[in-house]
């Protein structure tokens, strides 16, 4: 029962989602989005809590065991608790000017800086790839170089053909390859979904435990 029922639940939930997409039958078309999908949405919202609980559990253990760099765990827990308590105490935290003010001076600067440093890592990766002297890496860097120069005014000043070439690469080489990758991904997703639904893939049910 502990293993079979979840597999049956997986199959039933997936089948209902599929049937709702292909069959026009009012009770089904009403029940799936309004009840089944709503149940999935509400129950999924609870999962965020266990993720955070797990984070707290790991970092509390680090503090109590005084492992290496345990002080960072204190900082994490303080930041977590501060924004959590404030979010629960303040009514409609997303619209609250005080919460928004604090949030806007902490999270957006951190997240945009975190993503922006990838530019430096990518530049370093590109340099290393270029040193490999293979045709593949040269072609990749050549097209990347054209796209980057085509997107900035200085590229057009160097050679007016850069924006034209950039547009051509985007419209004919990139779009076509991405389209092929999308087709492959869709076929892969379909096969994987089918395997999950019929119970051939059970990794989500704690594997062989």
């Amino acid at each position: 029962m502990r293993r079979t029922l979840p597999v049956i639940l997986t199959l039933v939930a997936g089948t209902l989602a599929i049937l709702n997409s292909y069959i026009i039958f009012a009770p089904l078309n009403n029940w799936v989005p309004n009840y089944l999908q709503r149940t999935v949405t509400i129950s999924t919202a609870w999962a965020v809590g266990i993720g955070s609980l797990n984070l707290m559990r790991i970092h509390s253990a680090r503090i109590s065991r005084k492992t290496t760099n345990w002080s960072f765990s204190v900082i994490l827990i303080v930041a977590f608790t501060f924004f959590l308590v404030l979010g629960f105490v303040l009514e409609k935290h997303q619209e609250n000017p005080f919460y928004s003010m604090l949030w806007n001076y902490v999270q957006p600067p951190l997240s945009s800086t975190m993503y922006s440093i990838l530019a430096f890592y990518m530049a370093s990766a590109a340099f290393r790839a270029f040193r490999m002297h293979s045709v593949d890496s040269t072609l990749m860097l050549l097209s990347a170089f054209i796209v980057m120069l085509g997107a900035v005014p200085i590229g057009e000043m160097i050679w007016p053909g850069f924006p034209v070439l950039q547009e051509w690469l985007l419209n004919y080489i990139n779009t076509s390859s991405q389209r092929a990758i999308t087709i492959g991904l869709t076929l892969g997703a379909m096969a994987q979904s089918m395997r999950v639904m019929v119970g051939l893939e059970r990794g989500h049910l704690s594997g062989g435990e």
Binding site: A17, S21, Y22, T39, W46, S52, T175, S176, A180, T186
Partner: protein, 220 residues
């Protein structure tokens, strides 16, 4: 707890200093791994996790209980809440099997919804249809070399990428030249993606530098 616009304006300089300190803290990793960066990194993880919890509660759980169940009488949603609560048995080995039920529901529904419905299949069909372009194009009765060339490149590029993914290991192993050309096409495409991503990241860098030099230091 509401604050006045005057308070927000008075807090602004301190807020800008906090944001600048955090920005510099993240950038300090470019020099080397250091304490300052790790502090900012942990603040980022802690603050974002808390925000996700609060937002999930405020946007989904709270309306489900207060509005749907209590005000509208949709008591069936207790099932959804019970299922959601069952995931909290995950850390307890003896009762872990109970957490399989919500996971089974989420995975099953999303496998069907995202993998096998028209929502997923239609874009693929549209993609296939849009790739079937005429290789020889006539515009106003005359041969259009540019469009014919572009369409041929498009169709060949799609076909080669598909060939590489689907037949690279067995069917085309005896024709390494074909595989090589397929890979070159893909490399050109990945280069475009790489270039675009670098440009996006540079935009973010410029945004942060603009903040530092304009809002914080007031130099520009």
């Amino acid at each position: 707890m509401n604050v006045s616009p005057e308070f927000i304006e008075a807090f602004r300089p301190l807020g800008v200093w906090i944001a600048a300190a955090l920005t510099l803290g993240i950038y300090s990793i470019l020099w080397k791994e250091n304490y300052y960066y790790r502090v900012c990194e942990h603040i980022f993880v802690g603050a974002t996790s808390a925000y996700l919890v609060v937002t999930s509660y405020a946007n989904t759980i709270k309306p489900a209980i207060e509005v749907d169940m209590i005000e509208k009488g949709m008591w069936w949603q207790i099932i959804a809440i019970a299922l959601g609560c069952m995931i909290y048995f995950q850390p307890f080995a003896q009762f872990r099997w109970l957490s399989r039920f919500p996971i089974a529901l989420w995975i099953g529904f999303n496998a069907g919804f995202a993998g096998l419905t028209m929502r997923t299949i239609m874009p693929m069909i549209v993609s296939v249809r849009a790739t079937m372009l005429p290789l020889v194009v006539f515009t106003n009765g005359t041969f259009d070399l540019l469009r014919s060339f572009n369409n041929t490149v498009f169709v060949l590029s799609t076909t080669m990428t598909l060939l590489y993914f689907f037949f690279s290991f067995e069917k085309l192993a005896s024709a390494p030249g074909v595989l090589k050309v397929c890979r070159w096409v893909m490399m050109l495409s990945f280069g475009v993606g790489f270039g675009n991503t670098v440009m996006n990241r540079i935009t973010l860098v410029m945004g942060r530098f603009s903040f530092l030099f304009s809002d914080w230091l007031g130099l520009i």
